[in-house]
Amino acid sequence: MIMISGIVALVLLIAITLFRDDGSTQTGPSELGPAAPVDSSMCIASKEYMQAHHMQVLDKWRHDSVREGNRTHVTPDGRHFDKSLQTCLGCHANNRFFCFMCHQYANVKPTCWNCHLSPMESSK
Protein backbone atom coordinates (compact mmCIF):
# COMPACT_ATOMS: atom_id res chain seq x y z
CA MET A 1 0.00 0.00 0.00
CA ILE A 2 2.77 2.42 0.99
CA MET A 3 4.71 1.42 -2.09
CA ILE A 4 1.80 2.07 -4.44
CA SER A 5 0.97 5.47 -2.97
CA GLY A 6 4.64 6.41 -3.00
CA ILE A 7 5.03 5.44 -6.64
CA VAL A 8 1.89 7.37 -7.57
CA ALA A 9 3.20 10.46 -5.76
CA LEU A 10 6.57 10.12 -7.46
CA VAL A 11 5.08 9.79 -10.93
CA LEU A 12 2.95 12.85 -10.28
CA LEU A 13 5.95 14.80 -9.03
CA ILE A 14 8.03 13.91 -12.07
CA ALA A 15 5.16 14.81 -14.37
CA ILE A 16 4.81 18.20 -12.72
CA THR A 17 8.53 18.88 -12.94
CA LEU A 18 8.79 17.77 -16.57
CA PHE A 19 5.93 19.79 -17.89
CA ARG A 20 6.31 22.97 -15.94
CA ASP A 21 7.54 26.08 -17.65
CA ASP A 22 11.15 26.58 -16.57
CA GLY A 23 11.37 30.04 -18.07
CA SER A 24 14.14 29.02 -20.46
CA THR A 25 12.21 30.34 -23.43
CA GLN A 26 12.23 33.87 -22.02
CA THR A 27 14.87 36.30 -23.12
CA GLY A 28 16.95 37.60 -20.27
CA PRO A 29 17.30 41.28 -19.51
CA SER A 30 21.04 40.84 -20.11
CA GLU A 31 20.41 41.46 -23.81
CA LEU A 32 19.26 44.96 -22.99
CA GLY A 33 21.41 47.95 -22.39
CA PRO A 34 22.52 48.69 -18.86
CA ALA A 35 19.65 51.02 -18.19
CA ALA A 36 16.96 52.31 -20.45
CA PRO A 37 13.53 53.82 -20.07
CA VAL A 38 12.18 51.83 -22.97
CA ASP A 39 8.46 52.27 -23.07
CA SER A 40 7.07 55.46 -21.63
CA SER A 41 3.72 55.37 -23.40
CA MET A 42 2.08 53.80 -20.36
CA CYS A 43 2.79 53.95 -16.63
CA ILE A 44 4.40 51.00 -14.88
CA ALA A 45 1.13 50.15 -13.12
CA SER A 46 -2.47 51.21 -13.03
CA LYS A 47 -3.41 54.73 -12.01
CA GLU A 48 -5.17 53.46 -8.87
CA TYR A 49 -2.16 51.40 -7.80
CA MET A 50 0.27 54.25 -8.41
CA GLN A 51 -1.89 56.73 -6.53
CA ALA A 52 -1.85 54.50 -3.48
CA HIS A 53 1.61 52.96 -3.72
CA HIS A 54 3.97 55.28 -5.66
CA MET A 55 5.88 56.03 -2.47
CA GLN A 56 6.64 52.35 -1.89
CA VAL A 57 7.60 51.92 -5.54
CA LEU A 58 9.94 54.91 -5.39
CA ASP A 59 11.46 53.75 -2.11
CA LYS A 60 12.18 50.33 -3.57
CA TRP A 61 13.54 51.83 -6.79
CA ARG A 62 15.84 54.07 -4.79
CA HIS A 63 17.21 51.14 -2.83
CA ASP A 64 17.58 48.92 -5.88
CA SER A 65 19.30 51.46 -8.11
CA VAL A 66 21.44 53.36 -5.61
CA ARG A 67 22.59 50.53 -3.41
CA GLU A 68 22.26 47.34 -5.44
CA GLY A 69 22.77 48.54 -8.99
CA ASN A 70 19.69 46.78 -10.20
CA ARG A 71 18.35 49.54 -12.40
CA THR A 72 15.88 47.76 -14.65
CA HIS A 73 12.25 47.52 -13.65
CA VAL A 74 10.27 44.90 -15.56
CA THR A 75 6.49 45.17 -15.45
CA PRO A 76 4.39 41.98 -15.37
CA ASP A 77 3.58 42.53 -19.05
CA GLY A 78 7.26 42.70 -19.95
CA ARG A 79 7.99 46.40 -20.39
CA HIS A 80 11.32 47.74 -19.13
CA PHE A 81 11.95 50.95 -17.21
CA ASP A 82 14.98 52.59 -15.69
CA LYS A 83 14.52 52.75 -11.93
CA SER A 84 14.87 56.48 -11.64
CA LEU A 85 12.74 59.41 -10.58
CA GLN A 86 13.62 60.83 -14.01
CA THR A 87 11.61 57.98 -15.57
CA CYS A 88 8.51 59.21 -13.75
CA LEU A 89 9.19 62.85 -14.50
CA GLY A 90 9.78 62.00 -18.15
CA CYS A 91 6.00 61.94 -18.50
CA HIS A 92 4.58 63.48 -15.37
CA ALA A 93 6.64 66.64 -15.52
CA ASN A 94 4.38 67.67 -18.39
CA ASN A 95 2.07 68.87 -15.67
CA ARG A 96 4.15 71.09 -13.41
CA PHE A 97 1.70 70.67 -10.56
CA PHE A 98 1.33 66.90 -10.93
CA CYS A 99 3.06 66.00 -7.65
CA PHE A 100 2.13 69.10 -5.72
CA MET A 101 -1.63 69.09 -6.20
CA CYS A 102 -2.07 65.82 -4.34
CA HIS A 103 0.67 66.38 -1.80
CA GLN A 104 -0.82 69.69 -0.84
CA TYR A 105 -4.31 68.25 -0.60
CA ALA A 106 -3.09 65.33 1.53
CA ASN A 107 -0.82 67.67 3.52
CA VAL A 108 2.25 65.48 3.04
CA LYS A 109 5.70 66.98 2.71
CA PRO A 110 8.01 64.50 1.02
CA THR A 111 11.71 65.44 1.08
CA CYS A 112 12.29 64.43 -2.56
CA TRP A 113 12.50 68.01 -3.78
CA ASN A 114 15.16 69.03 -1.27
CA CYS A 115 17.60 67.61 -3.80
CA HIS A 116 15.75 66.31 -6.85
CA LEU A 117 14.61 69.01 -9.20
CA SER A 118 10.85 69.17 -9.17
CA PRO A 119 8.86 69.86 -12.33
CA MET A 120 8.36 73.38 -10.95
CA GLU A 121 12.08 74.09 -11.14
CA SER A 122 13.21 72.06 -14.13
CA SER A 123 10.54 72.81 -16.73
CA LYS A 124 11.36 75.82 -18.79
Partner: protein, 258 residues
Protein backbone atom coordinates in the same frame (compact mmCIF):
# COMPACT_ATOMS: atom_id res chain seq x y z
CA UNK B 1 -13.24 10.91 8.90
CA UNK B 2 -13.37 7.37 7.62
CA UNK B 3 -10.66 5.33 9.30
CA UNK B 4 -9.57 3.75 6.02
CA UNK B 5 -9.26 7.07 4.28
CA UNK B 6 -7.21 8.44 7.17
CA UNK B 7 -4.88 5.46 6.92
CA UNK B 8 -4.56 5.87 3.19
CA UNK B 9 -3.72 9.56 3.50
CA UNK B 10 -1.12 8.84 6.18
CA UNK B 11 0.57 6.17 4.12
CA UNK B 12 0.35 8.13 0.90
CA UNK B 13 2.00 11.17 2.41
CA UNK B 14 4.71 9.02 3.98
CA UNK B 15 5.30 7.42 0.63
CA UNK B 16 5.44 10.74 -1.12
CA UNK B 17 7.98 12.05 1.37
CA UNK B 18 10.09 8.94 0.91
CA UNK B 19 9.81 9.35 -2.84
CA UNK B 20 10.99 12.96 -2.74
CA UNK B 21 13.90 11.98 -0.51
CA UNK B 22 14.86 9.14 -2.82
CA UNK B 23 14.66 11.35 -5.93
CA UNK B 24 16.80 14.07 -4.39
CA UNK B 25 19.33 11.41 -3.43
CA UNK B 26 19.40 9.63 -6.80
CA UNK B 27 19.39 12.70 -9.06
CA UNK B 28 21.25 15.60 -7.40
CA UNK B 29 20.14 18.13 -10.02
CA UNK B 30 16.51 17.37 -9.31
CA UNK B 31 15.24 20.33 -7.40
CA UNK B 32 11.75 21.12 -6.30
CA UNK B 33 12.11 24.77 -7.03
CA UNK B 34 13.94 25.94 -10.09
CA UNK B 35 15.96 29.11 -9.75
CA UNK B 36 15.23 31.51 -12.58
CA UNK B 37 18.71 32.86 -13.26
CA UNK B 38 17.49 35.40 -15.80
CA UNK B 39 16.26 37.50 -12.88
CA UNK B 40 19.83 38.01 -11.72
CA UNK B 41 21.47 38.61 -15.07
CA UNK B 42 21.07 42.38 -15.10
CA UNK B 43 22.51 42.76 -11.65
CA UNK B 44 26.14 43.74 -11.48
CA UNK B 45 28.63 41.23 -10.24
CA UNK B 46 30.84 42.54 -7.45
CA UNK B 47 34.50 42.68 -8.32
CA UNK B 48 33.97 42.10 -12.02
CA UNK B 49 34.56 45.70 -12.98
CA UNK B 50 36.81 48.21 -11.28
CA UNK B 51 36.56 51.65 -12.80
CA UNK B 52 39.75 53.63 -12.82
CA UNK B 53 41.22 56.81 -14.20
CA UNK B 54 44.59 57.74 -15.58
CA UNK B 55 45.54 61.42 -15.66
CA UNK B 56 48.37 62.33 -17.98
CA UNK B 57 49.71 65.59 -16.56
CA UNK B 58 51.86 66.08 -19.69
CA UNK B 59 48.68 66.68 -21.71
CA UNK B 60 46.94 68.68 -19.00
CA UNK B 61 47.10 72.30 -20.16
CA UNK B 62 48.20 75.01 -17.82
CA UNK B 63 45.40 77.31 -16.73
CA UNK B 64 42.75 75.13 -18.33
CA UNK B 65 39.85 74.05 -16.14
CA UNK B 66 37.36 72.78 -18.68
CA UNK B 67 37.00 69.46 -16.86
CA UNK B 68 36.25 71.18 -13.56
CA UNK B 69 33.64 73.40 -15.17
CA UNK B 70 32.03 70.49 -17.00
CA UNK B 71 31.92 68.29 -13.91
CA UNK B 72 30.54 70.97 -11.64
CA UNK B 73 27.91 72.01 -14.17
CA UNK B 74 26.83 68.41 -14.78
CA UNK B 75 26.46 67.62 -11.12
CA UNK B 76 24.97 70.87 -9.85
CA UNK B 77 27.99 71.57 -7.67
CA UNK B 78 27.45 74.90 -5.90
CA UNK B 79 29.94 77.73 -6.14
CA UNK B 80 29.86 79.84 -2.98
CA UNK B 81 32.84 81.88 -4.02
CA UNK B 82 34.76 81.52 -0.76
CA UNK B 83 37.13 78.82 0.39
CA UNK B 84 35.39 78.11 3.68
CA UNK B 85 32.19 76.94 2.04
CA UNK B 86 33.91 75.58 -1.06
CA UNK B 87 32.38 72.44 -2.56
CA UNK B 88 34.49 70.61 -5.10
CA UNK B 89 34.39 67.32 -6.93
CA UNK B 90 37.45 67.80 -9.12
CA UNK B 91 40.03 70.53 -8.79
CA UNK B 92 43.64 71.41 -9.44
CA UNK B 93 46.24 71.18 -6.68
CA UNK B 94 49.91 72.15 -6.69
CA UNK B 95 52.20 69.13 -7.08
CA UNK B 96 53.50 69.18 -3.52
CA UNK B 97 49.95 69.34 -2.14
CA UNK B 98 48.80 66.43 -4.27
CA UNK B 99 51.87 64.31 -3.61
CA UNK B 100 53.12 65.45 -0.19
CA UNK B 101 54.76 62.11 0.58
CA UNK B 102 56.41 61.70 -2.79
CA UNK B 103 59.97 60.43 -2.56
CA UNK B 104 61.20 63.55 -4.34
CA UNK B 105 62.36 65.88 -1.56
CA UNK B 106 63.60 68.68 -3.74
CA UNK B 107 61.56 68.40 -6.91
CA UNK B 108 62.52 70.16 -10.10
CA UNK B 109 61.21 73.62 -10.85
CA UNK B 110 58.96 72.10 -13.47
CA UNK B 111 57.35 69.87 -10.85
CA UNK B 112 57.06 72.69 -8.35
CA UNK B 113 55.06 74.71 -10.83
CA UNK B 114 52.91 71.78 -11.89
CA UNK B 115 49.21 71.80 -11.12
CA UNK B 116 47.74 68.33 -10.78
CA UNK B 117 44.13 67.38 -11.29
CA UNK B 118 42.78 65.86 -8.08
CA UNK B 119 39.51 64.14 -7.33
CA UNK B 120 38.14 61.28 -5.27
CA UNK B 121 40.48 58.32 -5.74
CA UNK B 122 37.73 55.70 -5.45
CA UNK B 123 40.08 53.62 -3.35
CA UNK B 124 39.87 49.85 -3.38
CA UNK B 125 40.31 50.07 0.41
CA UNK B 126 38.38 53.25 1.17
CA UNK B 127 38.85 54.62 4.70
CA UNK B 128 35.78 56.86 4.37
CA UNK B 129 33.28 54.02 3.99
CA UNK B 130 34.59 52.44 7.16
CA UNK B 131 34.09 55.68 9.06
CA UNK B 132 30.52 56.25 7.89
CA UNK B 133 28.06 55.29 10.65
CA UNK B 134 25.03 55.03 8.35
CA UNK B 135 26.62 53.37 5.32
CA UNK B 136 25.70 56.46 3.36
CA UNK B 137 29.03 56.14 1.60
CA UNK B 138 29.88 52.67 0.42
CA UNK B 139 32.00 50.82 -2.08
CA UNK B 140 29.94 49.78 -5.04
CA UNK B 141 30.09 46.53 -7.02
CA UNK B 142 32.13 48.30 -9.72
CA UNK B 143 34.75 49.84 -7.43
CA UNK B 144 33.11 53.27 -7.25
CA UNK B 145 32.97 54.76 -3.77
CA UNK B 146 29.42 56.03 -3.90
CA UNK B 147 27.46 58.48 -1.79
CA UNK B 148 23.85 57.81 -0.91
CA UNK B 149 22.74 61.33 -0.07
CA UNK B 150 19.44 59.99 1.23
CA UNK B 151 21.28 58.44 4.15
CA UNK B 152 23.94 61.05 4.92
CA UNK B 153 23.43 62.57 8.35
CA UNK B 154 26.22 65.13 7.96
CA UNK B 155 28.51 63.82 10.71
CA UNK B 156 31.59 64.40 8.49
CA UNK B 157 33.46 61.35 9.80
CA UNK B 158 34.18 60.47 6.17
CA UNK B 159 35.79 63.87 5.62
CA UNK B 160 38.08 63.24 8.57
CA UNK B 161 38.87 59.76 7.31
CA UNK B 162 39.65 60.71 3.71
CA UNK B 163 43.41 61.29 3.36
CA UNK B 164 42.95 63.18 0.09
CA UNK B 165 40.50 65.91 1.09
CA UNK B 166 38.15 64.75 -1.62
CA UNK B 167 34.99 65.43 0.29
CA UNK B 168 33.12 68.68 0.79
CA UNK B 169 30.39 69.61 3.21
CA UNK B 170 27.34 71.68 2.43
CA UNK B 171 27.37 74.21 5.23
CA UNK B 172 24.58 76.11 3.54
CA UNK B 173 21.74 75.33 1.21
CA UNK B 174 23.60 74.77 -2.07
CA UNK B 175 20.72 75.69 -4.36
CA UNK B 176 21.16 79.47 -4.38
CA UNK B 177 24.84 78.95 -5.27
CA UNK B 178 24.07 76.98 -8.43
CA UNK B 179 24.01 79.30 -11.41
CA UNK B 180 22.18 76.95 -13.76
CA UNK B 181 20.52 73.65 -12.90
CA UNK B 182 21.48 70.56 -14.79
CA UNK B 183 18.48 68.25 -14.92
CA UNK B 184 20.58 65.11 -15.38
CA UNK B 185 21.57 65.00 -11.72
CA UNK B 186 19.94 66.12 -8.46
CA UNK B 187 21.34 68.85 -6.26
CA UNK B 188 22.26 68.28 -2.62
CA UNK B 189 20.79 69.83 0.49
CA UNK B 190 22.28 71.57 3.47
CA UNK B 191 24.09 69.23 5.85
CA UNK B 192 25.31 66.49 3.51
CA UNK B 193 28.79 65.58 2.35
CA UNK B 194 29.43 65.32 -1.36
CA UNK B 195 32.18 64.22 -3.69
CA UNK B 196 33.00 62.86 -7.14
CA UNK B 197 30.92 59.82 -8.14
CA UNK B 198 33.00 58.84 -11.22
CA UNK B 199 29.90 59.89 -13.20
CA UNK B 200 28.07 56.70 -12.30
CA UNK B 201 24.88 58.28 -13.69
CA UNK B 202 26.61 58.65 -17.08
CA UNK B 203 28.28 55.24 -16.99
CA UNK B 204 24.91 53.46 -16.89
CA UNK B 205 24.04 55.23 -20.11
CA UNK B 206 27.28 54.07 -21.68
CA UNK B 207 28.84 57.55 -21.61
CA UNK B 208 32.30 58.55 -20.47
CA UNK B 209 32.65 60.76 -17.38
CA UNK B 210 32.02 64.46 -17.98
CA UNK B 211 35.63 65.47 -17.22
CA UNK B 212 37.00 62.93 -19.73
CA UNK B 213 34.70 64.26 -22.44
CA UNK B 214 35.45 67.89 -21.66
CA UNK B 215 39.26 67.65 -21.63
CA UNK B 216 40.63 69.41 -24.73
CA UNK B 217 44.04 67.72 -24.37
CA UNK B 218 42.67 64.18 -23.95
CA UNK B 219 44.66 63.97 -20.73
CA UNK B 220 42.16 61.79 -18.87
CA UNK B 221 41.63 58.13 -19.66
CA UNK B 222 38.82 56.23 -18.03
CA UNK B 223 38.28 52.49 -18.07
CA UNK B 224 38.05 49.14 -16.37
CA UNK B 225 41.16 48.31 -14.36
CA UNK B 226 40.11 44.65 -14.16
CA UNK B 227 40.04 44.26 -17.93
CA UNK B 228 43.56 43.51 -19.22
CA UNK B 229 42.56 44.55 -22.76
CA UNK B 230 41.23 48.00 -21.79
CA UNK B 231 42.93 51.18 -22.99
CA UNK B 232 43.67 52.27 -19.45
CA UNK B 233 45.42 48.98 -18.66
CA UNK B 234 47.49 49.25 -21.84
CA UNK B 235 48.51 52.78 -20.92
CA UNK B 236 49.32 51.73 -17.36
CA UNK B 237 51.51 48.99 -18.78
CA UNK B 238 53.32 51.33 -21.17
CA UNK B 239 53.94 54.24 -18.80
CA UNK B 240 55.39 54.81 -15.39
CA UNK B 241 52.54 55.95 -13.17
CA UNK B 242 52.10 57.12 -9.60
CA UNK B 243 49.22 57.16 -7.16
CA UNK B 244 48.56 59.65 -4.38
CA UNK B 245 49.87 58.57 -0.95
CA UNK B 246 50.29 54.91 -1.91
CA UNK B 247 51.91 54.15 1.45
CA UNK B 248 48.52 54.45 3.17
CA UNK B 249 47.34 51.26 1.53
CA UNK B 250 44.09 52.76 0.27
CA UNK B 251 44.82 51.44 -3.25
CA UNK B 252 43.56 54.45 -5.25
CA UNK B 253 41.91 53.85 -8.61
CA UNK B 254 43.23 57.15 -9.95
CA UNK B 255 46.70 57.01 -11.51
CA UNK B 256 48.97 59.80 -12.73
CA UNK B 257 51.61 60.12 -15.39
CA UNK B 258 53.84 62.95 -14.16
Amino acid sequence: MNQQRRDFLKKASLGALAGIGAMAGIIPTFALEKTDTSVFSDRPQPGKTRWGMLIDTRNCREGCSECVAACHATHNVPDFGDSKNEVKWIWKSPYEKAFPTSSLQLPSRQLQELDVLTLCNHCAEPPCTKACPTEATFKRWDGIVAMDYHRCIGCRFCMAACPYGSRSFNWQDPRPAISEYSDTYPTRERGVVEKCNFCSERLVKGQQPACVEACPGKAITFGDLNDPASVIRTMLGDNETVQRKPELGTLPSVFYII
